[in-house]
């Protein structure tokens, strides 16, 4: 569920916020960010309030996520999101929290090719309209809560271990780059779809075996390089490489995967990336960030 939460929900939310601007003077902004702000507390909440992880609650959360996703997508399909609207922000928040509950109840991490193709399909749907990716997140939460989203557990031991927070932060730094092209029908959904396909390809048995032998530093350094080197005309190729690198990094996380750590790491990476791209008046940063474009 982490992949769905990270790339379908959080990725879509981050894109929405960077596209439509975040206004911290408005309460709607805090509502939109509530699921991310509550992320560090989810473990504690679930430990102290056992009813949160009961089957009935999880199913209710899954259903709520789907209903919220349907409501948002019906409202926004073909349209433009008003991030200052309190009611819509509340639906976003409710959806995010519901997905959080479902994800908390399913700490097992998917690694199957099927799941990544599912993620890629929904990211591709985002090229029709960005909100459709959210529908994928809501539907995934619903299917998982009712036990209909196929899960595969990792079946191989990995020698190398990587800190999931820093790796996710690095990915958060790199992955939104196509989004900073700031076109409504921009390249981010397509790039994310190719990225997810890249992760799926990296999970194929032979490649997986090969990649697992590579030392930690190699994929991490290459990911860092992808942050600097971004050829906008070759964005699909770039996204495929980032996907393959993430596919090499993913099995190195300790299991069960800590969603709090990866989620916060990813969000922190996106924020840093956004800040760097927002301060391009500094010539050195400007040249560094769009190297290759």
């Amino acid at each position: 569920m982490s992949a769905v939460w990270l790339f379908l929900y959080l990725g879509c939310l981050m894109r929405l916020l960077t596209l439509y601007r975040l206004d911290f003077k408005r309460p709607a902004t805090f509502l939109l960010l509530l699921p991310v702000l509550l992320l560090p507390l989810m473990d504690r909440i679930c430990r102290h309030q056992a009813w949160v992880l009961r089957k009935g609650t999880i199913r209710a959360a899954g259903l709520t996520a789907l209903i919220c996703a349907l409501a948002l997508t019906r409202t926004f399909n073909l349209g433009f999101a008003d991030t200052t609207h309190l009611g819509l922000a509340a639906i976003y928040a409710l959806m995010g929290l519901s997905l959080s509950v479902v994800a908390q109840a399913h700490p097992g991490e998917h690694t199957g090719t099927g799941l990544w193709i599912w993620v890629a399909a929904w990211e591709y749907a985002g090229t029709w309209h960005p909100t459709l990716t959210l529908l994928g997140a809501g539907l995934s939460g619903f299917l998982l809560a009712f036990g209909h989203l196929p899960e595969e557990e990792p079946s191989w031991p990995c020698m190398h271990q990587i800190n999931s927070f820093w790796a996710a932060a690095l990915l958060g730094l790199v992955l939104p780059k196509p989004g900073f092209d700031f076109q409504f029908a921009g390249t981010w959904p397509g790039a994310l779809a190719v990225f997810a396909l890249g992760v799926a390809i990296a999970g194929l048995p032979r490649l997986r075996e090969l990649l697992s032998r590579v030392p930690n530093a190699v994929p991490l350094l290459l990911l860092g390089l992808a942050f600097v080197l971004y050829p906008s005309a070759w964005v699909c190729f770039w996204a495929l490489v980032v996907g393959l690198l993430w596919g090499a990094v993913l099995p190195r996380f300790s299991r069960p995967l800590c969603r709090t750590r990866t989620g916060l790491g990813f969000a922190a990476g996106v924020v840093v990336s956004f800040t760097l791209h927002s301060n391009l008046g500094i010539p050195f940063i400007r040249r560094l960030l769009w190297l290759g474009s």
Partner: protein
Amino acid sequence: MKQWVLPYFCAALALLAVGLPLKTRLDAPRFGAPAIVPAGKAFEVSFATSLPFVPWRAAAGALERQWGLRLEQGGRRILSHRQSGNQHWITLADPTPVAGALRLPVDGLEHWSEGAVPDRLVLVHVADFPSTGREAMLERFVDEMAVLKPHAVLASGDLAYDSSAEWYTFLVGQLRRLEVLGIPVIACPGNHERGGWARYLNTFGLNTTHRVNLGPFAILSLDSAHGRDRLTPSQFQWFQDQLDHLEGRVPLIQLHHPVFPPGPAIHGNGEKSGGPLFGYRDGLVKLCVERQVPIVLTGHWHQDAVFDATGRFRDDTADFPGTKFVVTTALGDALRRVTRWPLSYYGYRILVTEKGRLLRYTQDLPGQPSPTPIASTPSGTWLRGGRP
């Protein structure tokens, strides 16, 4: 594999649930980015549907119903169509002869038919519109345009300091008045539009970077105002592509942010305006020089300024070779002193061109040399009977 059948079946159902009944979003031509084409020449209507892979005839039917327009009307015929996912492009042509220079859109589609465009074209450039409480300034500007009768108005952003529905209704109403006068409006967003971005996109469509052909000109509007890298890689690539496919037209560029910083011409702290183009400035300037772009029109500083391609502030003369990088004062928002240029007033800029050649872009002012460098036309000049 079988275990994925149910999720994908549910996905299809979910997509149907959010996509039915079929809706459309008209992307081009739109208000602020009209299609201006000579009679008989093809132009493209692009739109998206709420469901992907809908047959184009059904999609076109939905478009007509929702937007109250007829794609095939009078002499206008569909020539071809193409489709990708939920995006459709329909090519139309209208051979009906046009009396005069331009024929107004008549059917809800922002399509202007171009007739015999005179050799001498007058364009007006404006930026930084008045806001709530100063509505009369915008009304007076439209009244003035009714006297001046330019062939088009180019609006380079900050049209809506107030992103309320009321302001947008008023703004669109005034800009529509220009259209009724036979003056198409070509708009690009400024940084203040980002405050109510959804409303701007709903009003002007999602193509914030666009090209409008008018007579001998290809008017390229760029979106520099998202507050990050100003021009982004994909936008710069689009700009380069457009310059590679000018079809003999002369490019005119408009964007919100001034290309150059005030530099040594800064006045005090420039009222903290700064705000030049950061990303891709060198690339943009290089292309403008190479492709002999006569003028790049910008706003944002609320004061007039003109630079040459080296970034030198040209308050010495209005007539210098190469591309003119022009900043036009505010039409109605607060005035500033950003540069050493001593004059500051509300106004707009008149561009006089002949056969695609820029003849004049400044206004002679009393007590100043002729031609006066830098100066735009003070608001009300034409209502008082002045002449450029």
